[in-house]
């Protein structure tokens, strides 16, 4: 019998003990869990994966009608459809993955009482499945983007080297949602209060992020508040990447990347700590 399968069970005091061995042993499970999450969202629907597209498209249409057609809010010279759609797609990824991650522990409590598997797969599989939905939506964004690129008279929004910011921005968003999500998941397993807070928090967080408005419209007095929000630099840099609009200074970018990394790291450590005995309290 190989050493790989020998393990010692004891009361673990350390915060840093990750069961890396089991991540490797169970790697096929992660893939199946991601697939399960993704597929179960559209099983027994007529339109299937098209639902991942319908929701942001409708949202963007409402935004265009409300903010551009009715209120004439400027959109930094970006065609309003692209401006709102890009913001919505990015926000959707954060809010859907964060919402799912924060409930991943509670929803699978019964499963966790019956079988052992790396508990970290619960949030991570939610993150990946939301990421696939994001990729589909980014595909639609690309189609819209190309349409405007070839039909508009002055394709001023054509991007440049900043396009490299796109993967960095998405990675930062993933870290942020995993970090905040695992914090809430760990806290919710003990205190249901945090579940109620999550929905409220996400709504408020959306208004504090430049999804439906341009940063230029925010008065100097309150700009710091929008920039203190770690999502804002990501949205601004992704728009800069796609449309060549003005981004933020490198200092702010790196700062928010650092904050996201810290949230992610502490969230994972906290989750790993809570999962050890959470079936006793859930």
């Amino acid at each position: 019998m190989s050493e790989l399968f020998t393990k010692v069970i004891r009361a673990e005091k350390s915060w840093l003990s990750f069961d890396f061995k089991s991540f490797i042993l169970y790697r096929d499970l992660l893939f199946l869990m991601v697939r399960r999450e993704f597929v179960s969202k559209y099983k027994q629907t007529l339109l299937g994966p098209l639902w991942f597209v319908i929701q942001p498209v409708l949202m963007a249409m409402v935004f265009v009608f409300l903010f551009s057609e009715t209120m004439h809010v400027p959109t930094d010279g970006i065609p309003p459809v692209l401006f709102y759609f890009s913001g919505i797609v990015i926000w959707n990824f954060l809010s859907s993955s964060l919402g799912a991650i924060s409930l991943s522990m509670l929803h699978h409590a019964e499963l966790c009482k019956k079988v052992y598997f790396p508990r970290l797969f619960l949030p991570v599989s939610q993150l990946f499945s939301s990421f696939f939905a994001l990729l589909i939506q980014m595909g639609v964004l690309l189609i819209l983007y190309l349409y405007y690129y070839f039909t508009s008279d002055s394709p001023t929004f054509f991007s440049n080297g900043k396009v490299l910011l796109l993967p960095v921005g998405l990675f930062q968003l993933a870290m942020l949602s995993l970090g905040v999500g695992t914090w809430i998941a760990g806290l919710t397993s003990r205190y249901r209060d945090f579940h109620h807070l999550t929905q409220l928090g996400l709504t408020l967080w959306m208004y504090a992020s430049p999804i439906s408005y341009s940063l230029k419209l925010v008065s100097e007095k309150w700009k710091w508040l929008v920039l203190a929000n770690p999502v804002s630099p990501v949205i601004l840099s992704i728009r800069a990447a796609l449309f060549g609009t003005e981004g933020l200074s490198l200092r702010i970018q790196l700062g928010s990347l650092g904050v996201s990394f810290l949230i992610c790291l502490t969230g994972l450590l906290f989750f790993n700590r809570v999962q050890r005995n959470f079936i006793d309290t859930v």
Binding site: I9, K114, V115, Y116, Y191
Partner: protein
Amino acid sequence: MKNLIEVEKISKSYRMGERGFRSLRDSFHYWWVETLKKSASLDSKALHHFWALKDVSFNLRAGEAVGILGQNGAGKSTLLRILASLTDPTEGQAVIRGRIASLLEVGSGFHPDLTGRENIYLNGAFLGMNKREVAEQFDAIVQFSENEAFIDTPVKHYSKGMYTRLAFSVAAHLNADILLLDEVLEMGDLIFQKKAIQKMIERKKEGKAILFVSHDCERVRSLCERALCLKEGKLVFDGSMNEGMSHYLNNVTHSTRT
């Protein structure tokens, strides 16, 4: 034969009232009461804690099937949960040598919207098998479950019996060295139960170690030759099944529930 499991003085304590729902307000209340009462009564910790298991030690060798006997609340399920790594012990340790699979419930991780085929892979993965291992066993699993015709139907359309048979079949074909069974052989109709027990006896002969919890004395006796008796969290007997069974039954007749 070498030991696959070595359990040394394992204990598990629960805080009274901690199981179940708890809100932030309750938590503040506990904290308040504990800080105030700490000086008032030194026994507050003892009052708030309850030992579900206390100093349990035993070994399990390959090819051995052990039945755990005890009344409800004796600590049987807690012991299996600790060995399955579902929760940490409070004190003591256990060394596990080999792959361990916990069948505390069949069909863990089954998703109603997925087909029988998809669920076999998913459930197999939850029980620690990789894709290749499930693929090798796939035909045997389907055949054992007697569900060949419905293997590509979502399991939510299955009857209870079909569901149980499929779920048990995955578990029965596991590649693990140690199997933890908690009343899972009581599923399905009598004919399938007999088949399930037969399968487990086969696995035992292949050299798997089995820890079995059941309230059905006949079933325990047919699979296990050794018994562990738990009473109020303590191991009170470790020996042959016949002696263990009479020890357990004696205890039942002489004790009254409070």
